[in-house]
């Protein structure tokens, strides 16, 4: 088991290398340069060229990539922003934490709303407790996050004046951004949990448990649920990707200073160090979450635990 965890953590290294390379490569393909973006359209070409040279932007792609990796690995230096001339880490880290906080609230909310309702819908199939949440979830899953966010803004800030419309200064300001990203996810969670639970309830071992004389409560919560949770746990882990993407929208809408809006802002200036650091942080975080999901999986399912234990090295 420990071997497996170490192996998965070591796998982070190629992940980071790969993500950084892809971002360098894609940025290299796009037109424009940081010098022109910073100095403006009216600046003379000579100044622009000089600035690009100073920033190290003109180096060949591979050399830039190798330099960057060496600097990060050897000096733990993530470079300096082309645009603000500040250390990248100091700039990205606090904003990354804000995004993570938002995404975590989103995960917790979407799980707390979606999973219990999904279980209920499966247990009370065809009753109003099933049909009404299922129908609503169908609608909500189809609404894009930005539409939902604007509706919330309109209702709670503009009309009712209950919640702040921008920033993250108090716990109230988390409510709307978190809802914006978690409601569509909760809707998907509900449908996913419901179908997984329905499948589990029809399994033979559930009938065996009933034949033993176990009460309906024990049959559902002990036997059916634990087996139904396996795919749900995976789904919750995968949700995180969607939530981070969704938080870019929410950050823009509610003027939240997260890493998503930071990356979007700096793409305009081709601020390579900041964009790469932000993206790599998100990728690392995602990989670690997926590892956690696998560990939870192994905790729930002994068959998977046995598989991990038998994997060598």
């Amino acid at each position: 088991m420990h071997k497996y965890i170490i192996k998965r953590l070591l796998f982070l290294i190629p992940t980071i290398l790969g993500v950084a390379f892809i971002i360098f490569f894609v940025l290299n393909l796009t037109p424009g340069n940081p010098g022109r973006a910073i100095l403006g359209t009216s600046a003379p070409q000579a100044d622009v060229d000089q600035l690009n040279e100073e920033l190290g932007y003109n180096l060949p792609l591979l050399q830039k990539y190798v330099n960057y990796i060496r600097k990060v690995a050897v000096e733990q230096d993530f470079g300096t922003s082309y645009f603000t001339k500040q250390g990248v880490f100091d700039e990205v880290w606090p904003r990354f934490m804000i995004t993570m906080r938002l995404a975590c609230v989103g995960i917790v909310l979407s799980t707390l709303i979606g999973v219990p309702l999904g279980i209920l819908a499966a247990v009370k199939q065809y009753s109003p407790l099933d049909t009404i949440p299922s129908l609503i979830s169908f609608l909500l899953a189809a609404i894009p996050a930005f539409v939902l966010g604007m509706v919330l803004l309109f209702l709670f800030s503009l009309k009712l004046n209950l919640l702040p419309s921008y920033g993250l200064n108090s716990w109230q300001s988390y409510i709307m951004p978190a809802l914006t990203i978690s409601i569509p996810t909760a809707a998907i969670n509900l449908r996913f949990t419901k179908s997984s639970m329905l499948e589990s309830i029809r399994q033979d071992f559930v009938r065996t448990a009933r034949a033993k004389g176990a009460s309906e409560r024990v049959v559902i919560w002990k036997h059916a649920l634990k087996n139904a949770l396996l795919p749900v746990v995976t789904n919750i882990g995968l949700n995180l990707g969607g939530l981070i993407a969704g938080s870019v929208v929410a950050e823009q809408l509610f003027s939240v200073p997260g890493v998503g809006s930071l990356i979007v802002d700096r793409i305009k200036y081709k601020d390579e160090p900041v964009i790469i650091a932000g993206t790599v942080l998100i990728a690392v975080c995602f990989t670690i979450i997926m590892l956690l999901v696998d560990l939870i999986y192994a905790y729930i399912d002994p068959r998977i635990r046995a598989k991990y234990a038998s994997t060598k090295g």
Binding site: F205, R207, A211, K212, G213, H223, P302
Partner: protein
């Protein structure tokens, strides 16, 4: 009355969906004596499992309905018990072994926990050590090392899993054990082992048993009474001697015996029953077996046959209805051959 553990009278069960109504069990009656084993035989889809699930009231809640009849267990009407009384009955007094051991164990619980659950459900106050002791006892009773109680179902082979399922069913020493094709999913050598074990445990614990099977060999080995089921009806029933000795039989029973391979016989081919079971959503008006019956007469197609009883032997067929016993001549020697084989 006191010698009877289970008495089913005129039981009818349907599965109803929006699209169709499946008539799974149509007015069957059977009686199991205390300490006796009743074999319910018939091909797939005859309604054997439905009958078993009705006894435990485990029919699929969304579709299964008991239309009529009564099920008396030890003098109590099972069908009118409350759900909580039913829970107290299930596992404790009537236990069931299911057909497929691969799927009937919970994959995320150790086998020890699953057996312990069967005990704890019916006796919450049982101490931890007592539970562990009983679990180990039950496991060794079915021939599994007690130390394997901490293992999960995926670590057991098919035959071993079925032993675990049987251990679970016998943990509370039930008065009636329903075994729903307990050996069908196992290969032949394991079948014999598991069967011998069931037989031995039944004798030791004095459990009554409802043995559901489509294997006449199993019936001959361990049953006292037999019911032959076809399309939701018991077409012939009686003691094992009644069914296995030559004489008057329902044409379907004859067909079943004709489908068994016999090494002694020179016949190169088996004689299967031609045709398929009738569509349970549209059963024939007359005798349910009429469309496949070689001896089908005009009235078989329109009138449902009444059962004729002779001692313990009961046949529902027009061939014998109200006629002299002589009409049963010329019945195939299938039973004869089978009997000879069994005796060897």
């Amino acid at each position: 009355m006191k010698d009877t553990i289970l008495e089913i009278k005129d039981l009818s069960v349907i599965y109803k969906t929006d699209l169709e109504t499946v008539e799974a069990v149509n007015g069957i009656s059977l009686t199991i004596g205390k300490g006796k084993t009743y074999g319910l035989v018939g091909e797939t889809g005859a309604g054997k499992t439905t009958t078993a699930l009705s006894i435990l009231r485990l029919l699929p809640a969304a579709t299964g309905r008991v239309l009529g009849g009564s099920i008396q267990f030890d003098g109590e009407d099972v069908l009118s018990l409350s759900e909580s009384d039913m829970c107290a009955l299930r596992g404790r007094r009537i236990a069931m072994v299911f057909q497929d051991p691969m799927t009937s164990l919970n994959p995320v619980m150790t086998v020890g926990d699953q057996i312990a659950e069967a005990l704890l459900v019916h006796d919450r106050k049982m101490g931890k050590e007592e539970v562990e002791r009983r679990v180990e006892e039950t496991l060794s009773m079915v021939g599994i090392l007690p130390s394997r109680k901490i293992e999960y179902p995926h670590q057991f082979s098919g035959g071993m899993k079925q032993r675990v399922v049987i251990a679970m069913a016998l943990a509370c020493e039930p008065e009636l054990l329903i075994a729903d094709e307990p050996t069908t999913a196992l290969d032949v050598t394991i079948q014999a082992q598991v069967l011998m074990m069931i037989k031995e445990l039944r004798n030791r614990l004095g459990t009554s048993m409802l043995m559901i099977t489509h294997d006449l060999g199993i019936v001959a080995k361990i049953c006292d009474d037999v019911g032959v089921m076809y399309a939701g009806e018991i077409v012939e029933s009686g003691s094992v001697e009644d069914i296995f000795s030559p004489g008057r039989h329902h044409p379907y029973t004859e067909g079943l015996f004709g489908s068994i391979p016999d090494l002694k016989s020179r016949a190169r081919r088996l004689t299967p029953i031609a045709g398929l079971m009738p569509d349970p959503t549209a059963l024939p008006q007359g005798c349910v077996f009429a469309p496949r019956c070689k001896k089908c007469q005009e009235r078989c197609k329109t009138v449902r046959p009444k059962a004729v009883t002779e001692g313990t032997h009961r046949i529902a067929c027009h061939l014998y209805g109200g006629q002299a016993a002589g009409s049963a001549q010329g019945i195939s020697g299938g039973q004869d051959a089978f009997r000879r084989k069994e005796e060897q």
